[in-house]
Symmetry: C2
Subunit: 150 residues, 2 copies
DNA sequence: TAAACTGTTGCAACTGGGTTTCATGAGGAA
DNA sequence: TTCCTCATGAAACCCAGTTGCAACAGTTTA
């Protein structure tokens, strides 16, 4: 579902070590999961995947590593309209921002890139003199399939 | 700080009762607070204000009423980039959607309306055949004052 | 205007995602 | 290899929000 990435694998590891952070076994495991994820994962899903590789890994380490990645702008945190409780979802930061559309009926998440979105952010930076570090556009509604199904 | 509203006071009460919901003392109290709020309030702030009017009101009632308002699209729930924990903030749904910009340094929240935003949503409805019920664009970064301060 | 119906409230207990504390363990520079 | 420091795991904790249930109060009806 996520928009294809063109970044080289190992990018997150390189980014962390270039910032002087230790590349522990646990971090490598978590980074590889986030990097190769085919959908948006929450912390407990990441933990489950990580334990298949390193059974001793603790959920605290997952939370700490995600926090680290977020702080350095290497992953984006999503709410996906809080459709399944208050958990957060993560995806590695794409080259170009995209919009998340959550179908409130079937739960499917779609992604969408748009020049208008890029231009809107440009307008905000200019008109509001606001330096954008992270942006999050989430939309809730009904997808095409659910609209026509009813 | 919020963009001025032109809706008549009592709008929320009317909207609820027209849907066949009971107008209890507690609900009237909470609605009036949400309707007249000058900033974005979280649930505990709404509770605190409500207790000045009706000291017996319970926090559960606040949560339930906010959920109700959200379900009927009468208020919007905001994360404001989770700058202060995981709490949610509420504002009554405006006539025209706006963007929330959160300064990650000083914590100030700014609002911004934009034709580009309206057009972007139109594009999504058309190109993705996605029926939008609620949208949330939140931006984190540095405001003009904090940019020039450093 | 009183009864009755049913949605709403308050209370207490609970849930669950996420964080803190601290002793132990392991990167990695020298 | 040593040593320093950061990172980890385990347990306890935090806190926003939810649930179950008995008592209560809007609203409708007669």
């Amino acid at each position: 579902m996520p928009i294809p990435h063109t970044e080289a694998p190992g990018h997150l590891q390189a980014a962390l070590s270039s910032r002087g952070l230790r590349l522990t076994h646990q971090r490598r495991t978590i980074l590889s999961i986030v990097e190769t994820a085919k959908q948006h994962l929450d912390a407990s899903q990441i933990l489950r995947h990580a334990r298949k590789i390193d059974p001793g890994i603790d959920r605290v380490t997952v939370y700490r590593t995600l926090k680290l990645l977020k702080r350095y702008g290497l992953v984006d945190e999503l709410d996906l309209m809080h459709m399944q409780g208050e958990k957060h979802f993560y995806e590695r930061r794409p080259l170009r921002d995209h919009i998340h559309m959550a179908c409130l009926r079937c739960g499917k998440i779609a992604e969408f890139e748009s020049d208008l979105f890029d231009r809107l952010k440009g307008q905000i930076q200019r008109d509001c003199q606001f330096h954008i570090l992270v942006s999050r556009l989430e939309i809730g509604g009904y997808c095409a399939a659910c609209r026509s199904a009813n």
